[in-house]
């Protein structure tokens, strides 16, 4: 202990020493400068230092692909909930707030509608960033051209689905830098179609036939989608011209086994023109592109799987589709092989996943026809292993089988049932060992034949509702056949359910936005 006594030394000196010791200690410990308050975010990238290098260009482009396969994108919402489940080929059981879209009970506040809308618009926004920023980056010009081509393709693809599913949409073609850039009215559909076609033409010329990585957009993909855009806008000649490049070209071939289009082991096969690449991640998260480690698996499987093999009540195939398959036999008198790849019903030896059909269902459920297409029957249910978001059965967004039928359809509309139209149709049927269609059909009869063939070839692949819509028959089909929604009792309302509601948030927050009729 210090024996220094305050009385023996001048008091002020003692105090001065003590005080200065304290102050010295404190000044060492204190950084009084205001600079201490400048704490930049050490975890994330500032936008101001991006878009400088070729690497930035690649990353910005990858981000544009990002939304395609998330659960909000084609992983689930666009993969089934907002697309397949709306078709008259399937008949979903009700699952409140899960498939209100499919049972025509959807409201503008539906979260799942907003999710699909959000991911498609994210593609547009990110493509706009690429298209605005990449041209000024100093980099390899060949690759730069391709990057821009891929961005054009993706923007057109997103606009295509936005337009056809929601009817009228805002058309934004520049990066969003301020709130005012978003507060715009919806564009006339023709304007959007013009943008889609213009983007696809640029994509077509910019893109190579062989992509840098499997899964990237190619000139073939741009051509096929451009043809589809012309088909949807009834520009038959232009559609025919584009499809012809694919149909007559040698880049794509029908795979001998129809089922190879819906199986993970035969991903990216010769028939595939643009295919979404799923990723097996057992440990991902539910979340849109931009969240860490989102699931990018085939998460829609439980939405279409049979009852008992899903966390929902399941989805059946409508009886008329089954009847259509059974009506016409193959060249060897057998059932169309596409039927077995598309549906599962109580036929001898039928199996649901690993189980015998007769043991898989109770009572009246045995009489139902269930979905088979895109299901991974090598597993024990739609939920294995461990989670429903694992499967990597890629979504073939555009495949040659479809293009051939679109070509036949466009050709017939443009010039009647020409030999080229017949040839395309019969190519599709031949792969399924189905006999050629009857020669000498009228234009109307051929049209019907193509539409029938589209059911046999494309059931439960997601475009059925859009087909009915562009043919103008959707209201008729659903309102006249209540049985199409017998599982849920859902009722289609004409002049409403043709299009999905614009998400309520976007109507509320953008005064220039008009809600779709009926919502």
């Amino acid at each position: 202990m210090i024996s220094m006594k305050p009385t023996k030394m001048p008091r002020f000196a003692y105090r001065a020493i003590m005080l200065s010791a304290l102050l010295l200690m404190s000044s060492v410990l204190t950084d009084c400068s205001e600079k201490a308050l400048d704490v930049p975010n050490p975890n994330q990238l500032s936008p101001s230092i991006f878009w400088r290098t070729a690497d930035d260009a690649e990353k910005g482009l990858v981000a544009t692909y990002g939304p395609l396969t998330t659960i909000q994108g084609w992983g689930r919402m666009l993969g089934a909930i907002l697309t397949t489940l709306r078709g008259d080929d399937v008949n979903p059981f009700p699952a409140q707030e899960v498939n209100d879209v499919g049972t025509f009970a959807v409201a503008a506040t539906d979260a799942r509608v907003a999710e699909g809308w959000g991911e498609l618009n994210a593609i547009v926004a990110r493509a706009n960033q690429v298209l605005a920023n990449v041209p000024t980056i100093q980099m390899d010009e060949t690759r730069k051209k391709q990057i821009l081509g891929e961005a054009y393709f993706l923007r057109a693809l997103a606009h295509f689905y936005l337009l056809n599913m929601w009817g009228t949409i805002p058309l934004i073609r520049k990066p969003v830098n301020a709130l005012e850039d978003i507060l715009v009215p919806q564009a006339a559909p023709a304007e959007v179609w013009a943008s889609i076609k213009s983007d696809l033409k640029l994509a077509q010329t910019n893109l190579p036939a062989q992509p840098k990585d499997v899964g990237r957009a190619t000139s073939g993909a741009a051509t096929a989608l451009l043809g589809k855009a012309f088909l949807y806008t009834k520009d038959w000649a232009a559609a025919t011209a584009e499809f012809k490049k694919i149909v007559d070209g040698s880049a794509y071939k029908l795979v001998p086994n129809y089922q190879d289009n819906f199986s993970a082991t035969t991903n990216n096969n010769a028939e595939s023109i643009f295919e979404l690449q799923y990723q097996n991640s057992s440990t991902g998260n539910w979340g849109p592109s931009g969240t860490p480690n989102p699931w990018r698996g085939q998460a829609w499987e439980p939405d279409i799987a049979p009852k008992g093999y899903t966390s929902q009540a399941g989805t059946t195939i409508n009886r008329w589709v089954f009847d259509l398959f059974i009506k016409e036999k193959t060249t060897t008198g057998a059932i169309d092989p596409r039927a077995f790849a598309t549906m599962i019903w109580n036929y001898p030896g039928a199996k649901v996943y690993q189980d015998d059909f007769t043991k898989a269902f109770n009572g009246t459920d045995q009489n139902n026809v269930w979905v088979r297409k895109y299901l991974n029957f090598d597993r024990t249910s739609s939920l294995t292993p461990g989670s429903w978001a694992y499967a990597t059965n890629n979504r073939r967004l555009i495949r040659l089988g479809d293009v051939l039928l679109m070509y036949a359809e466009a050709e017939n509309e443009a010039s009647g049932p020409t030999p080229a139209a017949y040839a395309a149709m019969n190519r599709v049927r031949a792969r399924a060992t189905m006999p050629n269609i009857a020669p000498g059909l009228s234009k109307d009869a051929f049209r019907e034949a193509v539409r029938t063939e589209r059911v046999l070839e494309l059931t439960a692949e997601g475009d059925r509702f859009l087909d009915l819509l562009r043919w103008g028959t959707v209201a008729d089909v659903f309102t006249k056949n209540r049985a199409l929604r017998s599982n849920s009792g859902g009722q289609f309302q004409a002049n409403k359910n043709e299009y999905l509601p614009i998400p309520q948030n976007d109507v509320n927050t953008n005064p220039k936005m008009k809600q779709n009729p009926g919502y």
Binding site: M1, K5, R15, L22, S26, T30, D31, A36, L37, D38, V39, N41, P42, Q44, L45, S46, P47, F50, K59, G60, V62, A63, Y65, T69, P94, Q96, E97, A107, N121, A122, I123, V124, A125, R126, V176, I182, L183, D213, G215, N267, Q277, Y278, Q279, S282, T283, S289, G290, P292, N293, K307, G308, S311, A360, N362, T364, S488, N505, D506, N508, T509
Partner: protein, 1130 residues
């Protein structure tokens, strides 16, 4: 003390007079220390004492002597000049000798009575008090000096010795002798005598023509002498002008909890404490005067001067007191973090004297307060068959042909069936002398949850000490703690088990049975009970909270203090999910074992310089505080996920064959502040306080960084006024008022700058490629939220402090509350931007009262303290374009229970109003409803448009109680003590989502209420028909779920017995007490769920957070518990 020679065994003392002490004119500083002992004067004076003090005021020395001997000293500070410093060293001397040594050189002597030792000033050779003539008083020639004598009596009529009798306006006076008598010469008949004595109310008497003035002094209200801890200092309760609620140690110990903040519940008016269910170690929400934000509404915690965010880790036995700063005046010194109130916690310090050792232990058993009534297997099968028939679906085999009468599993009983033990061991050592004091404690607390596979353990170590040398003082508080929480995260999951499956199936991986989707007819459902055994969850939190304060008194009254704080935390969250198989149902199997582990390290440093100056000149007393502080908090996290382990027994990342994920981030913020406060009081009558703090926060953009938070308050002690009637029932009265502006910067770090998102990757065949995109807009203009509070209050004391009342009315307006302004999503930059837009108003009335029964001759002593508060919480504005906030998701399909909108309380329940059940198709047709059948809910068409749609929803009540109250009753009688604590809330609603989960949802076991479901044969019912597909959407958010949440609860009852001193002495102890305690013993409530204490705990995925308050998604039930304990002092 080397300058003293102990070998001489002789008392030596050194007296050093410091600067001339400023003598108070009237205020008498005196001490009445330690309770009067039973010992007589001789005994007292013979007690032996050892003591060593250097340069300490006499009063301090006397107080130490008092503590050592239980003698009670009575004196007038003015007369004996009690501030004079003295030094003294004695070793094992009788008190009489010590007093002689101490007092003689000071010209003081003493007289001992039975209970007291009265100090008096010595005149040559005389022990009789004589008047002391103040030199500054010149006798007025007009007045002739007169001699006045008399007796001062206490409230019981006995003579009161040691009372200071002063001539008002002079220092001329005397003290009463042991019989209470005095004699004094006064200047003339106009003179006024002031009688004052500690613990009694001072009295003034004009002499007039009397020569004998006898008076009776009334005891003072004890609360007024209380010292209250305020921000950066302490204040006498009497001078406090802000709204501060205090909790004493004695009221803390009546609850046994893992979480110290739960101790506050029911004890302070206007402070709502929500237990998030009864899980051991679960979080507790503390809401001071209502929610005034949509973000974090939790108060700031200051523990021994260390500013932090939680007190959960504290050992409750270490807490010396808790003060809650409720209004702006009290809290403003904490500036932009004080908007939600401030909780100040002071931990125990050592006293002087012999080292004390206390050991306490208690053990207890807990069980649930209530259970739900579920269907048995047969009832369940019948109900589900009914549903299948209604849905026109085939009946499941398990419920029909394959029904197994041998299987009837009561899952509830398994999950919360067995009694859960609690153990609590606590040891502390304290002691010291005038120069150094210490308090060291340790605790081990182990609580098993009443839900299977849940538990909590905590280890605490604390060392507090203070050192003094002359004008220098060093204090230190260090707390180390480890908390290990092993929660059952699967409790309360919807779509749970059904009674028709067995618990075990040895054939399955993991050994538990599960639901077969086909056989049981349920697509989803799992054996959560089994999973809770397999899934290992453990959160370990280590914390070190320490502070060192160095204080130096530069000149008298001017003190500089450097306070250094350190808050170091290390947390580990561990979750291992082994492979298992129950069935093919979703989540009922896991093929890939998985380990998630996250480590977080946090370091907070606090540097504070404060300068404090206090001075009294005449009747003016000023206390000034100025300070500069800087606080830096940084958290760094690192986490990894590994999958596919070779065996389930290897549970570290290194053993995983797939390294799935790695995460990590840094969260850092800096706060620099200057602060100042002036407390002024005039004659203890008029009180004024002004506070300002200016904060600079790194969380905001440079142009918005600095904010100033001022407050002002005033008080008026009416009872000090001369016109205030003496000896009225109302013995003390104070009016207070305050206004101030506070801030809340609880908004997270880095929110004002836009960032690029690097998580926008895509998988190309060949591998994942990284993607970068702008995915949101930041708002650089975001600033702190502000809250403006007006408070009017009064402190009243009746019957000389027998009954005290504190009342407050407040109006708190929180402005610039951060809300999410929604923006169109099609811009691809998110769905909202953050904006300071909303306004919330909280108004409330608070009442707190205490009744202290004065012990009578029978020895019965008791007190009752209670509080009551009301609150009105309203959202006044959300901001232009901001939509109502929906929350409280109570289903996996995210049906939501609450809505927050203008004109309503935060988180109000919202939905349709059920108007019975349809009995006929005609009723349905008349209402124009489709997909509805008899037996489905009928809802009110509130807007009478003939349609049922979302416009027919309305507000169904609020989870915020209209009233809350708590009361504590303490009594002692001959060694026995009893403590009762009741607590309750009134006027709130609870959203009982158990009704969804166990009735309307398609999976899980069903409540017995389902047996009353509507059937064509049973139409007089409020339970809808059984259906699993629910086409009419009966499960939508509606009044069906809303129940009255009021409750009154006997929160705690403790009955103890203190063993007789003679008995414990034989056991070489200095004290021992045994007790039994019960918690949550009785509850009066009409709520039909497990327990009405819902809080906002929610479940990991549902109803958690502010907007899920009061939504019961199967909250972990509160425990009813019984403890037995023993406290031993060595």
């Amino acid at each position: 003390m080397k300058s003293f020679t102990p070998s001489r065994r002789q008392l030596r003392w050194v007296m050093t007079v410091s600067l001339v002490q400023i003598t108070l004119l009237i205020a008498l500083m005196s001490a009445a220390l330690a309770r009067p002992g039973k010992a007589n004067a001789q005994e007292l004076l013979a007690r032996r004492v050892s003591l060593s003090v250097t340069h300490k005021p006499i009063k301090t020395v006397l107080s130490q002597l008092s503590r050592l001997t239980t003698a009670r000293f009575t004196y007038s500070s003015t007369v004996i000049r009690a501030d004079r410093p003295v030094s003294l060293v004695v070793v094992n001397q009788p008190l009489s000798t010590v007093l002689d040594q101490l007092l003689k050189p000071l010209s003081l002597s003493y007289q001992a009575t039975d209970q007291e030792i009265v100090l008096i000033r010595t005149t040559a050779g005389s022990a009789i008090p004589t008047p002391e003539t103040g030199s500054q008083v010149l006798p007025d020639p007009a007045n002739r000096a007169v001699t006045v004598s008399g007796t001062v009596l206490d409230e019981k009529g006995g003579g009161l010795p040691g009372v200071t009798v002063l001539v008002k306006g002079t220092s001329q006076g005397t003290v009463t002798d042991p019989q209470g008598k005095y004699t004094l010469s006064v200047p003339g008949p106009d003179a006024t005598l002031v009688f004052s004595f500690v613990g009694y109310l001072p009295q003034e008497v004009r002499v007039g023509s009397q020569s004998t003035v006898n008076i009776t002094l009334a005891p003072n209200d004890k609360i007024l002498e209380e010292v209250v801890v305020v921000g950066y200092g302490t204040q006498r309760r009497a001078n406090v002008t802000g709204a501060i609620g205090s909790i004493k140690t004695s009221d803390i110990n009546n609850i046994t909890t893992a979480n110290a903040s739960a101790l506050i519940q029911g004890k302070v008016a206007g402070v709502r404490v929500e237990n998030a269910g009864g899980a051991p170690g679960a979080g507790v929400n503390v809401i001071v005067r209502g929610t005034g934000t949509f973000g974090n509404d939790q108060p700031l915690y200051v523990i021994d001067g260390n500013i932090t965010t939680s007190m959960d880790f504290l050992n409750p036995n270490d807490i010396a007191g808790i003060e809650i700063l409720k209004d702006a005046s009290a809290a403003a010194i904490y500036g932009n973090r004080a908007a939600n109130g401030v909780v100040l916690v002071t931990t125990k310090q050592g006293g002087t004297g012999a080292t004390k050792i206390n050991f306490s232990t208690k053990v207890g058993i807990q069980g649930p307060t209530d259970r739900l009534k579920f269907m048995n297997a047969r009832q369940y099968a019948d109900y589900i068959n009914q549903a299948a028939d209604n849905d026109k679906q085939p009946r499941a085999l398990a419920n029909t042909t394959a029904f197994d009468p041998n299987v009837d599993t009561d899952w509830q009983k398994l999950a919360i069936g067995s009694a859960a033990p609690v153990q609590d061991y606590s040891l502390n050592l304290s002691g010291g002398n005038d120069n150094a004091k210490f308090y060291i404690s340790g605790q081990y607390f182990d609580q098993k949850g009443i839900v299977v596979n849940s538990g909590f353990k905590r280890y605490n170590l604390r060392a507090n000490s203070t050192f003094t040398k002359g004008r220098f003082r060093l204090s230190e508080a260090l707390a180390l703690s480890r908390a290990v929480n092993t929660p059952n995260v699967w409790w309360g999951r919807e779509r749970g088990e059904i009674p028709t499956i067995p618990v075990f199936n040895p054939k399955n991986d993991g050994g538990f049975a599960g639901i077969d989707p086909v056989f049981n007819g349920l697509p989803r459902g799992i054996n959560w009970y089994g999973l809770s055994f397999l899934n290992e969850n453990r959160q370990t939190n280590d914390q070190m909270l320490g502070s060192v304060g160095a204080e130096y008194e530069i000149i008298d009254g001017l003190r500089y203090k450097l306070n250094l704080g350190l808050d170091y935390t290390v947390g580990n969250a561990f979750s291992y999910l082994p492979t298992f198989f129950f069935s093919t149902s979703q989540e009922a199997f896991n093929n890939i074992s998985r380990l998630d582990e996250v480590n977080v390290r946090g370091l907070g440093t606090l540097v504070e310089h404060t300068l404090n100056y206090g001075k009294t000149v005449g009747k003016h007393t000023v206390d000034v505080l100025a300070g500069y502080t800087q606080q830096v908090n940084e958290f760094r996290s690192l986490g990894a996920t590994g999958a596919d382990f070779p065996t389930n027994s290897l549970r570290v990342i290194d053993a995983s064959t797939v390294r799935v994920n790695a995460t990590g981030d840094i969260q850092r913020n800096v706060l620099q502040s200057i602060l100042g406060r002036i407390n002024y009081n005039y004659a203890g009558k008029y009180l004024l306080s002004a506070t300002v703090r200016r904060d600079g926060s790194s969380r905001f953009a440079p142009q918005n960084r600095f904010g100033t938070f001022p407050s002002v308050s005033a008080g008026w002690r009416i009872s000090e006024e001369s016109f205030f009637p003496k000896n009225s029932i109302l013995s003390d009265a104070k009016l207070r008022g305050s206004y101030g502006v506070l801030g809340s910067q609880n908004i997270g770090n880095y929110v004002t700058t836009s960032v690029l998102n690097i998580n926008a990757s895509y998988f190309f065949a060949g591998g994942v490629q990284p993607g970068t995109a702008l995915t949101n807009f930041a708002n650089p203009n975001v600033v702190w939220e502000t809250s403006k509070t007006t408070d009017i209050g009064t402190d009243l004391s009746f019957l000389n402090g027998t009954f005290t009342v504190v009342m407050d009315y407040y109006d708190r307006r929180s402005e610039g509350i951060l809300t999410n302004l929604p923006i169109p999503t099609f811009g691809g930059v998110g769905s909202s931007i953050v904006k300071n837009a909303a306004t919330i108003r909280n108004q409330g009335f608070e009442f707190a009262g205490t009744y202290n029964h004065r012990p009578g001759s029978n020895g019965l002593k008791y007190s009752v303290t209670g509080n009551l508060s009301s609150i009105r919480n309203r959202v006044l504005a959300l901001g232009e374009g901001v939509s109502p906030i929906n929350g409280g998701g109570f289903t996996q399909e995210s049906l939501q229970a609450t809505r927050t909108d203008v004109g309503q309380p935060v988180g109000s329940f919202y939905g349709f109003v059920v108007d019975g059940v349809y009995n006929t198709q005609d009723q349905i047709t008349a209402d124009g409803r489709t997909n509805v059948r008899p037996g489905d809910f009928r809802y009110k068409d509130l807007n009478n448009d003939g349609k049922l749609n979302n416009d027919d929803r309305t507000y169904l009540g609020s989870p915020i109680p209209k009233f809350e109250y708590g009361a504590i009753f303490n009594a002692t009688y001959r060694g026995f003590d009893l403590s009762l604590f009741v607590q309750g809330v009134q006027g709130n609603k609870i959203w009982n989502a158990n009704k969804f989960k166990h009735l309307l949802d398609f999976g899980g076991d069903k409540l017995i209420a389902g047996t009353r479901a509507w059937t064509p044969a049973n139409t007089n019912t409020d339970i809808p028909r059984a259906t699993l597909s629910d086409p009419a959407n009966n499960r939508r958010a509606s009044s069906f779920y809303v129940e009255n949440g009021s409750y009154l609860r006997l929160k705690s009852m403790q009955f103890g017995y203190t063993l007789p001193v003679a008995f414990v002495k034989k056991m070489q102890l200095s004290g021992a007490r045994v007790y039994v305690q019960g918690q949550n013993l009785l509850t009066a409530t009409r709520y039909t769920g497990y327990d009405p204490e819902i809080g906002r705990g929610g479940s990991p995925s549902q109803a958690a957070g502010l907007f899920g308050a009061g939504v019961d998604v199967g909250i972990y039930p509160q425990a009813r518990s019984v403890f037995a304990g023993i406290d031993i002092a060595f």
